[in-house]
């Protein structure tokens, strides 16, 4: 397939007719590809029924899909600048939309989203709203104008609109920073999935995934990425929608649970109320309350309690050994001793975490559909908690949306369409494909939750479904069950569900064949690969185009620029993998950080560049620096991980208005915007050239122009 695409690509003569036949050709190829993929899955399914071992199915999925991407990547290799940076600006809206969708739907969307909805209920919908509604901002405020501008990167736009190397350099640093943070989160996800699929060690998983990324993008840049992303979009959607349809059929008698799961929601709510009344549930929660109180008492008695605890732990091991207890018991006691905090300071930290965890587990059951729910018993406190939750919800939605409209790897995609009209349509198609997944995540979360609440909770430990045992063996971060009140029955409060398990284990939960598990993992792999590809390319392009070509060596030949871009891509990928191996922070906060940074530093300057003629260089510089600065400041002083690193005392660094650090953009965007406006008004109007550029951006593109513009002198 890719061979013929590459063959068809150079057809440049007669743009309209060429465009149309190119579109038909693509439809035929990807249509065949989709059918072929279905056949491939069916074949593996038959293989499974004939006794093909599971490991083999996992490997087949891994290597067949990566091999496919590599094939497309190698066929699309190029040394041409326009092909390398913007896929020759010939990608039809429909396919550009698919590629944008794949760029967009990351491991976080594919694996994390349904899990977050499962754990957070209504409040998790902030991610659903934020990650889709942001496309309205992209469509209305940014994409058409960027396409009309028609260069290569986002700093290109900032550099041309505001003039001067400083603005370009700041935009470049911002673009690189947020993309890099985001790509680390993707590679991390990639490592997890590869490990899950093949049982290799995490660090091998990371490098296997990295190889997958590089074969896609190294030789062909944007062109290769575009055509692999279209394939990845198809794979990830198939991998998500098939199991959702299957599980929907089971519970709602409809393969489209998206429209039919209201009855399940009702049953789920009824079951929640029933569980909340259950005396055994309350007994378990009471035990957790006691454990939390014990932990707090130990903290209060520090450092004496630390010494006492250590002596007791040591004594217990000796006692057990002396009494010839079973080897298992001795091992368990030794583990406790080995894991015992080494100092009173560490003990305080560990016990505080314990107290928080137990308090949380002792809290009442969260209703799935209730907005801004609070478990506080005291009405005044509950009202306060709800208000804080409401503002955090709105702030998070805002940051995710503005971040969507500021993330360079998404915005770059508007450069690859043939004209402005296609750029607008491409956003529509991107949102369409994204919604296929996003409309399915809430029903999936609800159906899995209903299954867990009815088929797992309330069952005897000996009668639990098989997946409970197998997933809790894999790791406590996935699933943890413990018979706290020793009644032999699993209460809801006795199980802890990790967010990744909802999607990864869903085929087993619903009793689907193993081939679907492989399919889901392959889908997650496609999601993580496609996003990581787009991000790495963005970073490498910013370095090779904006830093090397625009700022360092303005005379570099096109061939040299592309070579430079390829070398940088390799380097950035290695650095990102290295950082990933150090396992920084948790993924969701990394991603949130990337969004807030993008929103704060790039979004105001991009929008004002088109919609406010008076915005000038100094205003843009001040705006970007303020946004970036406020965002970094807020995160580094309020986020627990950085607080610990910097040695700050959390009680002195309370969040502003109770807003979580993940939503720092809600302060940074308005402040950055204000700085942009004030400084612009205090300094000189932009020159006539700049105003002419703004006028040019605001007009529709004219026939034959195709978005190409004459470069202004900078």
């Amino acid at each position: 397939m890719p061979e013929s695409i590459s063959a068809a690509l150079p057809a440049r003569a007669d743009p309209l007719a060429g465009e149309r036949s190119f579109f038909r050709l693509l439809c035929r190829y990807y249509g065949t590809f989709t059918l072929g993929f279905f056949a491939f899955v069916m074949l593996l399914w038959l293989g499974e029924r004939a006794g093909l071992p599971r490991v083999l199915i996992g490997y087949t999925f891994l290597f067949a899909t990566i091999g496919l991407y590599a094939g497309i990547g190698i066929m699309s290799r190029t040394t041409d600048v326009a092909e390398y940076y913007v896929a020759g600006r010939r990608v039809p809206a429909f396919f550009n939309g698919m590629a944008t969708g794949a760029d967009w739907m990351s491991a976080a969307s594919f694996i994390g989203l349904a899990g977050s909805l499962y754990l957070l209920g209504y409040d998790g919908l902030a991610f659903v709203l934020g990650w889709t509604g942001g496309y309205c901002l992209v469509a209305l405020l940014i994409a058409p104008y960027l396409r009309k501008f028609g260069q290569f990167t986002i700093p290109d736009f900032i550099g041309a609109r505001y003039g001067g190397d400083v603005a370009r350099a700041i935009a470049m640093v911002a673009a690189i920073t947020c993309s890099f943070v985001y790509v680390v989160a993707q590679i991390y996800g990639l490592g997890l999935i590869t490990t899950h699929l093949t049982n290799v060690d995490f660090s091998y998983g990371v490098f296997l995934g990295l190889a997958g990324i590089l074969v896609c993008s190294f030789l062909g840049g944007m062109r290769a990425i575009t055509w692999t992303q279209v394939a990845q979009c198809i794979i990830l959607l198939v991998a998500y929608l098939i199991p959702v349809a299957w599980i929907g059929l089971k519970y709602t008698n409809s393969p489209l649970p998206q429209f039919a799961y209201s009855s399940v929601l009702e049953q789920l709510t009824a079951r929640e109320q029933q569980l909340a009344q259950d005396p055994q549930e309350q007994a378990v929660r009471q035990i957790y309350r006691q454990r939390a109180a014990e932990a707090n008492a130990r903290i209060a008695a520090l450092p004496g309690s630390w010494q006492k605890g250590q002596i007791e732990a040591r004594k217990k091991v000796e006692d057990l050994k002396a009494h010839r207890a079973s080897i298992l018991e001795v091992r368990a006691a030794e583990r406790v001793l080995a894991g015992y905090p080494t100092s009173p300071q560490e003990a305080r930290h560990v016990w505080q975490q314990e107290a928080t965890e137990f308090t949380e587990r002792a809290g009442p059951l969260m209703p799935h559909t209730e907005p801004f729910w609070s478990g506080e018993a005291d009405p005044e406190k509950a009202e306060h908690a709800r208000t804080v939750k409401r503002w955090n919800f709105l702030a998070l939605v805002f940051c995710l949306m503005a971040g969507t409209a500021g993330l360079p790897h998404i915005l770059m995609r508007s450069y690859t369409t043939p004209n402005v009209d296609q750029a607008r349509k491409s956003i529509f198609w991107a949102l369409f494909f994204i919604l296929l997944l996003y409309l399915s995540a809430p029903p999936l979360a609800a159906l899995v939750k209903y299954d867990v609440y009815t088929a797992v909770v309330g069952k005897h430990f000996s009668d639990l479904p098989e997946w409970v045992a197998s997933w809790s063996r894999i790791g406590p971060s996935f699933l943890r069950v413990e018979d706290v009140n020793h009644d032999g029955v699993l209460q809801l409060a006795e199980m802890q569900v990790g967010s990744d398990i909802v999607v990864l284990a869903m085929p087993e939960i619903a009793g689907l064949p193993y081939v679907i598990s492989g399919l889901v993992a392959a889908g997650g792999l496609a999601a993580a690969l496609s996003t990581a590809d787009g991000l790495l390319l963005t970073i490498a392009n910013a370095l090779s185009h904006d830093l090397y070509f625009r700022l360092i060596n303005k005379r570099a030949s096109p061939a040299r620029r592309v070579t430079m871009a390829k070398i940088l891509l390799l380097l950035v990928a290695l650095v990102a993998a290295f950082v990933t191996l150090m396992r920084p922070g948790n993924i969701v906060s990394l991603v949130g950080l990337a969004f807030s940074l993008a929103a704060a530093s790039l979004f105001p300057a991009l929008v004002m560049g088109v919609f406010w003629r008076r915005a000038n260089r100094w205003g843009a510089i001040a705006g970007m620096l303020t946004g970036f600065g406020v965002c970094t400041y807020y995160i580094s002083t309020r986020f627990p991980f950085f607080q610990a690193t910097l040695g700050l005392d959390p009680s002195n660094w309370q969040p502003w208005f109770g807003i979580e650090p993940i939503s720092s953009g809600v302060f940074a965007v308005p402040l950055g915007l204000a700085a942009l406006i004030i400084v612009s008004l205090l300094t000189r109007r932009p020159d006539a050239d700049t105003e002419a550029l703004v006028d040019f951006l605001r007009l529709p593109d004219l026939p034959g122009e195709g978005g190409r513009i004459t470069m202004r002198n900078q």
Binding site: G133, C136, L435
Partner: protein, 93 residues
């Protein structure tokens, strides 16, 4: 551009459309979410706020992108076909 009323009208209309669609976007995103607790009545069997945040608003976002692309396309075509003739470009899209 300053002297060309046709071009200016095109931009004014673009701005109006943008503001109108952004208003819809703002209403269904922030106003609805702000009142989510009050609005969680039963809506064809769905809790309304939950339905909107998980599906309804998303479909409206898609509609916004669709309307914008369609509308601007029509106006681009009108703009091009009235090339060189200031008065013919419709003042209302």
């Amino acid at each position: 551009m300053v002297g060309d009323s046709r071009q200016r009208r095109y931009w004014v209309q673009t701005r109006h459309l943008t503001v109108a669609l952004l208003l819809v976007w703002f209403l269904i995103t922030f106003v609805l979410s702000y009142f989510a607790r009050a609005l969680n009545f039963s809506f064809f069997g769905w809790p309304f706020s939950y339905y909107m945040a998980s599906q309804g608003s998303l479909l409206i976002y898609l509609l916004i992108a669709f309307v914008y692309a369609r509308w601007q396309r029509a106006r681009d075509i009108a703009f091009r076909s009235t090339e060189g003739n200031d008065d013919q470009f419709p003042s209302q899209a």
